[in-house]
């Protein structure tokens, strides 16, 4: 039990530290996807309870997301994933680090 817990705590810390923008690697956030572009979520800064809520709705690491529209001024934005649509604000979208899908 303790062993498992130790490994998990370590994973959690790694996860928490994993969140960073690697500019050299051409990383983008969800907020910077242009209309029609898609990407896959690579890491998430989950400290904001709003972001946790979005994760419960299915925006987790590995989810492929497509930008599908925006309101006047580009905020909030609309995204599609797995047959769902969701609208969220830029502020929260910035918390999702994406790997841009090839072909864009």
């Amino acid at each position: 039990m303790i062993g498992v817990a130790y490994v998990q705590a370590t994973i959690a810390i790694i996860n928490a530290n994993h969140y960073h923008l690697d500019m050299a690697n051409n990383d983008i956030t969800l907020a910077s996807l242009k209309n029609g572009q898609s990407g896959t979520i690579r890491s998430i800064d989950a400290t904001d309870p709003q972001v946790q809520r979005l994760m419960v709705l299915g925006l987790v690491e590995g989810t492929q997301v497509q930008q599908a529209g925006a309101a006047l001024g580009g905020d909030p934005m609309e995204f599609r994933f797995f047959g769902s649509g969701i609208s969220l604000r830029r502020e929260q979208a910035m918390r999702f680090i994406m790997t841009r899908d090839s072909g864009d």
Partner: protein
């Protein structure tokens, strides 16, 4: 707390069995827009009753399903994405599922409704529901849409992944697969309990360990929620049941399981990883569904077409409400007038004849005439909501709402309030934060509701010339202005509250956007009939009663010695003035004289406090005495009414003031009751009433004195 001995079996209060009509109670659980309500209507037909949960008085939609001599009760719960509640509405669903809702039995089984085109989110919820260890059946809805999108789902494999629970694919709109689902539901109470999926063994191990030493028997799923969500006021009793020792261990386990990672984030990561694995196995392709609807959506999702589209939709709605209703309104108007005339002619000049013709027909008829307009308005609001457009309006307007301290989520209640503030206020339940929710609740009654419409329509038709200004009709323009006025007042109220009593952080915004879909005609029709019934019941009871009372107050006491030199109309007017109503009106007249209202208008306005459309009925009764009751006569009479010195009562400043008063004043007992219920306090309805009435009075005063 010590463990209960064998001689003393302690059972939580809500588990003590009570007598009930149904053999079993099944909770219908699903995410919003999963087709849950359509399926519920399909399964239960018209055998539904809408009651309230005791204490919280949230509607409890219960339908009965009968077969083989057994009665199964289906409880339609508010939509929820998971068992971790985020809003008031989701909280209700979760409380019922766990059997925590006072006075409500824990369900004997679960009917999980999952949209086949959105298995990803659906399976997240199903996974949590399976861990409840209750009999469960999954209804896979919209399989036709999934098939059209080229999506194939292997039901056998899916069932195997879900611990062998029954899965029925249905199309609720056509009824396909309903019979099989009904059989599965009937068989449900006898089913073996589902085997929990092994998606998150670590959590389950900890929960099992805690459950084994709990002071009172606990469901593992409840302990799991406590571990993930932490101790809140809502699961305090779970902690209590676990006992003090377990509570200490719980803290340690949480720390070991999650470390620095937020537990909800971990839950999402673990469960969706499992869901993705299952999907890869049961779904032939992982589609990004791109139906024609999605393509249409995509045009209107772009900033500029989207915003233009929103204005176009609203313009069409308002245009339809006024243009389409006219022929039907003329028909009702003509029928009422000739009925009143015929009754008057048949019964002669007696008190009874006057009661029927002037009281009932003129009073109730002047309200019934607005039924077509109100139904058209409701039809559009229902269509906008069911087609998924309202969610889009919320997102397009989020930015504008943010500037007044609300979020796009407040848009849906506000648009609904154009039909009626009561459902509008109830629609605020999806707003997660209480402060944002109350600000929206207090802004909603300013939206021009369908009961204000008759008053506006009557006064505008009578006092605004039907001429064209540039290319717009002046009457339509004034009406549009009144709608805008209501919106501005509501928004200013919200802003004011957010800056003072309801100060707080910026409200968040995240909204699932359902795909555009054709609203189900059955569901639309059922909702529309329900609204018509409510309106007609009101007209038949409250308004009927008020019309009779007002008639009696205006008719009695009769004075025998009328000056014979007076003409018939002058005699009727003199009689009215010395009636009870006349005397009461004169009594309150000083309070309203600064607003330019005579005793007739004052008494009509006062009679309108329980329900604002009553005003029309009162004016109809007061002014129709001795004449046939159609709309044209009423407006002619209003124009002709004068002060004793011969000045007209209805001058332009006075009419503008009256309209402002109507736009602001909270003359609706039903709205007050629903504010009380939704805020769970008398403070807010009392505040709303005083605040709105004061604004209305001051507004009318300023208009009359300054214009």
């Amino acid at each position: 707390m010590t463990k209960a001995g064998p001689s003393e079996t302690r059972v939580p209060l809500h588990e003590i069995p009570r007598r009930r009509q149904a053999d079993a109670s099944i909770a219908v659980v699903g995410s919003p827009n999963s087709g849950k309500s359509t399926l519920f209507n399909r399964l239960t037909g018209l055998r539904q009753r809408i009651g309230n949960y005791p204490g919280v008085t949230v509607e409890r939609n219960v339908g009965l399903m009968k077969a083989d001599g057994r009665t199964i009760e289906l409880v339609d719960l508010p939509g929820t994405h998971g068992l971790s509640a985020h809003s008031y509405e989701e909280q209700i669903a979760v409380d019922v599922i766990f059997g925590r809702m006072a006075g409500t039995q824990p369900p004997d089984g679960i009917l999980a409704v999952v949209d086949a085109t959105n298995l990803y989110q659906g399976l997240f919820l199903v996974q949590q529901l399976i861990e409840l260890e209750r009999p469960i059946v999954v209804a896979l809805t919209m399989v036709d849409a999934a098939a059209a999108g080229g999506l194939k789902i292997d039901l056998e494999k899916l069932s195997a992944h879900l611990g062998g629970i029954p899965i029925c694919s249905v199309v609720a709109t056509t009824g396909q697969g309903i019979a099989a689902l009904r059989d599965a539901i009937l068989a449900l109470p006898g089913n073996t309990l589902p085997q929990p999926t092994m998606a998150w063994p670590e959590l389950m191990a900890v929960a099992t360990e805690l459950a084994s030493t709990a002071a009172l028997p606990m469901r593992r799923a409840e302990i799991e929620r406590l571990i993930i969500d932490g101790a809140t006021g809502l699961n305090a009793h779970v902690l209590e049941c676990l006992g003090a020792d377990a509570a200490i261990r719980l803290v340690r386990y949480r720390d070991e399981l999650f470390g620095l990672e937020p537990p909800l984030a971990r839950e999402a990561r673990v469960r969706y990883a499992w869901v993705r694995q299952v999907l890869g196995d049961v779904q032939e392709k992982m589609p990004v569904l791109l139906s024609w609807r999605t393509r249409v959506t995509q045009i209107f999702n772009q900033p500029i077409p989207g915003t233009l589209g929103l204005f176009l939709v609203m313009a069409i709605v308002f245009q339809a409400v006024f243009a389409w209703a006219t022929p039907m309104m003329d028909l009702i108007d003509g029928a009422t007038a000739s009925l009143g005339g015929w009754v008057g002619g048949q019964l002669g000049d007696t008190a009874f004849s006057s009661l029927v013709a002037d009281g009932v027909i003129a009073g109730v008829g002047s309200v019934i005439i607005f039924l077509p307009q109100i139904l058209i308005l409701f039809l559009f609001i229902i269509l906008l909501e069911d087609s998924g457009y309202l969610a889009r309006a919320a997102y397009l307007l989020d930015r504008a709402m943010r500037s007044v301290g609300l979020s796009g989520q407040s848009i849906i209640p506000m648009i609904s309030s154009f039909a009626c503030a009561v459902p509008g206020i109830m629609a605020t339940r999806v707003i997660p934060n209480r402060r944002d929710r109350i600000a929206t609740i207090l802004a909603a009654p300013f939206m021009t509701c369908s009961a204000r419409l008759p008053v506006y329509a009557l006064l505008i038709a009578a006092f605004v010339p039907a001429q064209n200004v540039v290319f717009m009709n002046l009457q339509g323009l004034v009406l549009f202005g009144l709608y805008m006025f209501g919106i501005i007042m509501g928004v200013l109220t919200a802003l004011l509250l957010r800056k003072t009593a309801l100060r707080g952080p910026k409200p968040p915004f995240a909204l699932m956007l359902p795909e555009f879909r054709r609203p189900n005609s059955r569901t639309v029709l059922m909702q529309l009939l329900g609204r018509a019934r409510v309106f007609l019941r009101r007209a038949g009871t409250v308004i009927f009663a008020v019309a009779v009372v007002v008639w009696a107050l205006a008719y009695f006491p009769r004075s025998a010695d009328m000056d014979p030199s007076l003409t018939e109309n002058e005699a009727a007017a003199a009689q009215l003035e010395q009636s009870w109503l006349g005397r009461a009106g004169h009594f309150v007249e000083p309070a309203f004289a600064p607003l330019g209202w005579d005793w007739r208008v004052s008494s009509a306005v006062i009679a309108g406090f329980p329900a604002r459309e009553v005003v029309i009925a009162v004016l109809g009764t007061v002014y129709a005495v001795g004449d046939e009751a159609d709309e044209a006569t009423l407006s002619r009479r209003l124009k002709a009414s004068t002060w004793p010195d011969g000045r007209p009562v209805f001058t332009l400043p006075m009419v503008i003031g009256l309209l402002i008063f109507y736009a602001c004043c909270l003359q609706c007992a039903a709205t007050l009751a629903v504010i009380r219920r939704e805020t769970n306090s008398w403070r807010w309805p009392v505040f709303a009433w005083i605040y709105m009435t004061t604004i209305g009075y001051v507004g009318a005063l300023l208009a009359f004195q300054l214009l």
